[in-house]
Amino acid sequence: MGYVAGLDSGSTSTKLVVMQDEKIDRYYVVPTGGNSLRSAQKVLELWFEEADKTEHDLQCLVATGYGRENIKLAIKTVSEISCHAKGVHWLFPDCRVIIDIGGQDFKVIKLDKEGRVLNFAMNDKCAAGTGRYLELMANIFQMDLDAFGLAAFSAGGSVEITSVCTVFAESEVINHVSRGTAENEIVAGIFNAVARRVYSLAKQHIADAKEIVFTGGVAKNQGMIEALARITGCEVKVGFNPQITGALGAAIFSHHINGGQ
């Protein structure tokens, strides 16, 4: 069988997953940088170059994400909610709840045993609880995101961040820094704040589930994985690359459209 692909044109990053015979061939993640068309083209070119192929070798492409309508090569667009569900189900067939925290939004998806979406909820209006919030906070400490993710582990306690709003929360954090509060305790407080914010939307959908699959760029943050597990009381699983789940799901849809089982 030929190659099929899924392209997730997100607001922060653009992802491509290419599959052949229902196995992942290659995958790529590039920053969208405000131009979804250009980054989609870039991500495809990365595959063309590395695999020594052209667009004629792609039998089918499904696009998802905010920029999905602009992807001319796409035979169909599918919502990122359905794509995340499909992708996560492929990786974790027993999963019934997904929490996806991206650059500018977060979502909760409830699935059935076939990986079909039963229900979902999204926050894409407010920066609190998204990757953007964490970026802003990491910036206060002049840390890169990897270091930031590990910074809470050594903490003995955590501060309470009382404001939900990102802007006011930032002021609170700066206040803590200037008062000399331990850095690791502030960072722990930040991760708790994000986890709590997400949990308030997710709680109803988690219900009695014991496991959650965590996707999106923020799932690369080790501190967030721990905070989410603690605050939800569930086991949190993360795939080998939490950013590509949407594109993976789109690729699987592509595979089915192309006649694959």
Binding site: Y66, T77, V78, S79, E80, I81, S82, R116, V117, L118, N119, F120, M122, D124, K125
Partner: protein, 374 residues
Amino acid sequence: MNNESGLAQVKSIYENRDARARELSKEKKIIGYLCHFAPPEIISAAGMIPYRITGQLGDDIVEANRYVEPYGCPYVRNCFEQGLKGRHDFLEGRVIPHSCDMVQRIYGLWKYYNNPNFSYLFNVPHQVVPWSLDFFERELTFFKESLEKHSGQKISEEQIISAIQLSNDNRRLIKELYELRKTQPPKLSGVEMLQILLAQSCTPPEEFNVLLKKIKEEAAARETVKKELPRVLVWGCIIDDIKFLEIIEQTGAHVVSDDLCIGTRTALAQIDTSEGVMRGLTNTYFRDFRCPRTDHGPSRERFSYVLDLIREYNVQGVIGYALTFCDPHKLDYPDLRDYLNDHGIPMLLINDDYTLGNVEAVKNRVQAFLEMLE
């Protein structure tokens, strides 16, 4: 006069809704109204023309912010803004019901700052009990008397009956148009039906009657190509712009029915005057009018009429439209959602601040929801 199709005429009226009223205002008095409590039939019986006041979706609220705080119904603030911009200058006056706090507040603001020739605050109870029905009946009489005082002419019962007969006729034709939406695919789209309903609200009823008959002929004769798109019912707050339904239909669905004040909550009723004219109006405009601002008790069975609509129109999913700060709708939503889910019907709620500014966010949710229905 008009070789244009009925639907094309409706579209023109929809896109320029005050044009006919402005023309007529040179010789007749136009009375603006909000919501659906003060019967337009009484306004017609008084020899005046009823005109539903609407907002302008997406308009920047600038002037109104000086009079009304931003944390209140965005729809009412938008309507008030239209007034400040002079878009209601052809109105003789307004009748404003006490539908909810914000609508009622606007009455006071308009009266104080606009000082119109005619102004009436229509009191509406919040529960349906025998004494509130009597209250509403009395209120109808007070409203009628205030119009009489303003025009200097008595309104006879015959005149009201005649107005009711005409509006009943129009609603009978609207019902026949709704029947055409029961086919798969429907012969009238949700967008077209909404344009018809909105055009009706700003056109004298006798003129619209002629147009409705034309539309019915055209629509019934339409050939449709079989399309297997999911069938959706839209529930919620006032929708006076086609944008929301366009988004839904363009994403890939047929909006075949609704539970909206501009739609089935009032558009299909037949006013029955057998128990008296005012009692008949009370039953249609208050007792049977299903806006959540009227309390119909705590039981989820209060939504059985929605399930009836779902079965009648063969609906697979419900999409709700709730305006920011609309407590009546938002507090009813969880019960409605759970009731529908128990009956196997999924429901999606879209929140909007009467701008539909983030179309992508709406499309995202609608597309995911429609995929769930597949």
